[in-house]
Symmetry: C2
Subunit: 466 residues, 2 copies
């Protein structure tokens, strides 16, 4: 029962109807934290889901974050650390006493513990692992040895594995009497004496089967199992494709190492699509809570690369200085040609990058897709060319200039379709992430082709010097 | 048992080690389909997961798709229709005999049936609904009445709901004897006589509890329930935040309407992140299997909008025709200034659009984020300005020109940070999807500011006419 107290409300909703954290509630928590009122803090924030407390912590100031965790004491669930941005998490881990952190992490599920540990400095990581019981710390050490972004890092080692000769009744009796069951589970795994995976029984199947039946009779052979070294994205693709909720992970000797559950995969899918989007926009792995310096440094790399592609475009223009000197209208119009190519190239590129990521583009349909993109480029190039041609001809009272710019727009649009597809495909074949590097090349090509085709055609048509 | 036959291999793996469909297997299916060999087709593709058969169908020609489905007959699971691109699905539905389609759809889970029906023409939809048993067709009609992209459209009406006074033993006995259980379930729902939702019991909890206990004692009150009219994205956010596997959906009178499972949410999350990315690149809801005409039409809208923003930039340049006439170097260098602003504006914009979508950006942190973006813009603007200034000064042997371009780059970079943040924020407040419309405005602003600041500063500094 919660007490009602006008001066210190404790019955505030955690989230408003839009799903945002309730500002009044945050305010109340903040006030209680600043007043060092442990009891009130616990009333307000003692029974939160990790996602809510993670987000709450993100909104507080650095001092208040530490104070909140300390005021909550035992009531603070370290799972919340997996639900906040990396910079906030690292800072908080630094600010909290190491033994409290070690204890908190020790209580987590193994996949959450790995998620937190993997971003820490080696020294801090070792310190925390040293404080844990040896079984747990060796499990975590093993998980941390798997390469980043592989299935091994997502593995949860808390699962139920039983021999095939058990009956359904035995399993149920065991589950009723066991005291150390995983917090949540969806399947029971069946293993041989060497811990090699034989199959899995989903709980609905288990519940709907008579007690006398052996679990080997109702288990499903795991068609979609995953190896520890498999890439996260490939694992995500399996969950998505086969509508899975959990999946067994085995080592090279077919031994069951642990399981991966869909909640971790939801995060992987989210991240993956986000990475493609950010990559295309020239932003790396960035969080809204990163520091100014960190952000500036990570973004400028991309911008500097773009300085050189812009310089290349400028060099093309400088080849036609004399042409422009005679006909300044060209300088006015030339960015239109480049920008049209850039925009249509970006369209093709985005579709291609996404299709590569979702495995919708492959050798079988490459030619069909290429033909389609070229035809789309041709159709849109003709449409845009005519529109821009008419505008330019009218503006400068020069129909021939209209024809020249229309032709250049058409050329550049078709080129942009071709390279918008081929650049990401080629990068992918070369093992370079197409989301990261495609934009630079495509923009470079559409700029160069745009400026060159327009200025060259104009110089040739009007017989201008260059 | 599968027969082995060298001439007609049936033991080919469906997927290769990269997770792509096995090309040899596709070839074998194609050959069998063309040979009209029903038995062999069934051996090869009769027992596929819907995801695999959906993808297989996508790779075949239009005629072979229909032939495959007909050769598989009863063995074809219409769930596969939910696993293929919309254009392929619509074409196939058109090509198949309507009564076969109606029968196939009648066997689907309600959420899958809705997914297929919602994209069909009204007339076809009615025809199929008319062929279904009245209970099913009225359920589907009701689901189709919910607005698109709401929870109601994702609802699965196949679930288990029981009264609170049942014991665990009764529940288990019921599950063992029932013949019409849902294909897969993760929770049992507890309802009152008016079908109002009281709570849910997860299967792991049910299995770990003694037979004599009442389910009302072990059920969890559903903290995270969803209304039929709630937006899909809000639902997805709940699954993601609270690591859910299934969620009850209620109507306005708190009655249990159905459930949503995580596999549908995985698709929503995927789509949502993809939409943001495609939106920023100026591509709408497009599939790689859309027709040329369809694609061209959907893309050109965006390109035409961009013609007018490019014209605005051209108008700015034309104000300085006389300036350029005197100093052609300006025409060579001006695209660099515009392009730097465009690139850094895109970075800020992508981060902002994503932060809005994931609810990481709100009133509380807006000022902090704005300050951060401006500082990042300032730092990178200074860095880029110096770099480009030195290059320009050297290239044209004109140090003053270096100072002018450096200043313009700095100005445009800071502006781009400001508007890269404010444009999506403002659009979002106005109820316009920031992913769709931000690019146009940000590019327009960075182009105009880029060209104007550089040409104006140059004209003023060197005392040129304009």
């Amino acid at each position: 029962m919660k007490e009602t107290d006008a001066a210190a409300p404790t019955d505030l909703a955690v989230r408003d109807e839009n799903g945002h954290l309730n500002a009044d509630w945050i305010q109340a928590v903040e006030t209680a934290v600043k007043a060092n009122d442990a009891e009130h803090v616990q009333e307000l924030a003692g029974d939160l889901h990790a996602a809510d407390s993670g987000e709450l912590i993100e909104t507080l100031s650095r001092e208040d974050r530490v104070a909140l965790v300390q005021l909550l004491g035992e009531g603070f669930d370290y799972t919340a650390l997996t639900e906040m941005d990396e910079p906030v998490r690292l800072q908080l881990l630094e600010d909290l006493p190491p033994d409290a952190v070690a204890q908190g992490i020790g209580e987590l599920e193994s996949d959450d513990a790995v998620f937190i540990l993997e971003d820490m400095e080696q020294a801090e990581q070792d310190m925390i692992l040293a404080e844990l019981p040896s079984v747990e710390s060796s499990q975590l050490r093993r998980a941390l040895e798997y390469p980043e972004d592989t299935a091994g890092r997502l593995v949860q080692t808390d699962f139920i594995a039983l021999p095939p000769f058990w009956t359904v009744g035995q399993v149920i009796d065991y589950l009723r009497s066991a005291t150390d069951l995983p917090e949540r589970f969806y399947e029971i795994y069946v293993v041989d004496p060497g811990f090699r995976l034989l199959g899995a029984v989903s709980l609905d199947k288990l519940l709907a089967t008579k007690r006398s039946k052996k679990i080997s009779k109702i288990m499903e052979e795991t068609r979609h199992l995953v190896r520890v070294n498999e890439d996260q994205e490939a694992v995500a693709r399996k969950f998505e494709r086969y509508n899975l909720v959990s999946l067994a992970v085995t080592d090279d000797a077919d031994r069951l190492v642990g399981i991966i559950t869909v909640d971790d995969i939801v995060d992987v899918i989210q991240e993956e699509a986000e990475e493609d989007m950010m990559g295309l926009a020239g932003v790396g792995d960035e969080e809204i809570s990163d520091s100014v310096f960190e952000t500036a440094r990570s973004r400028i790399t991309w911008l500097v690369v773009n300085v050189f592609t812009a310089l290349l475009a400028a060099t093309v223009i400088s080849m036609f200085e004399n042409t422009i000197d005679v006909m300044v209208a060209l300088a006015v119009l030339m960015p239109i040609v480049a920008s049209m190519g850039g925009n249509s190239g970006t369209q093709t590129m985005a579709v291609t990058v996404r299709a590569i990521a979702t495995q919708d583009l492959n050798k079988r349909n490459l030619w069909r897709v290429l033909r389609r993109e070229l035809l789309v480029g041709l159709m849109n190039g003709i449409g845009l060319g005519i529109l821009i041609g008419i505008i330019a001809a009218t503006w400068f009272a020069n129909p021939e200039l209209g024809v020249v710019i229309a032709t250049a727009v058409l050329l550049n649009t078709v080129c942009s379709a071709l390279f918008g597809l081929l650049v990401p495909m080629t990068l992918n074949r070369l093992g370079v992430d197409p989301a990261l590097a495609s934009s630079v090349f495509v923009t470079m090509i559409t700029d160069v082709v745009g400026f060159f085709s327009f200025l060259f055609l104009a110089a040739w048509w009007f017989g201008l010097p260059f």
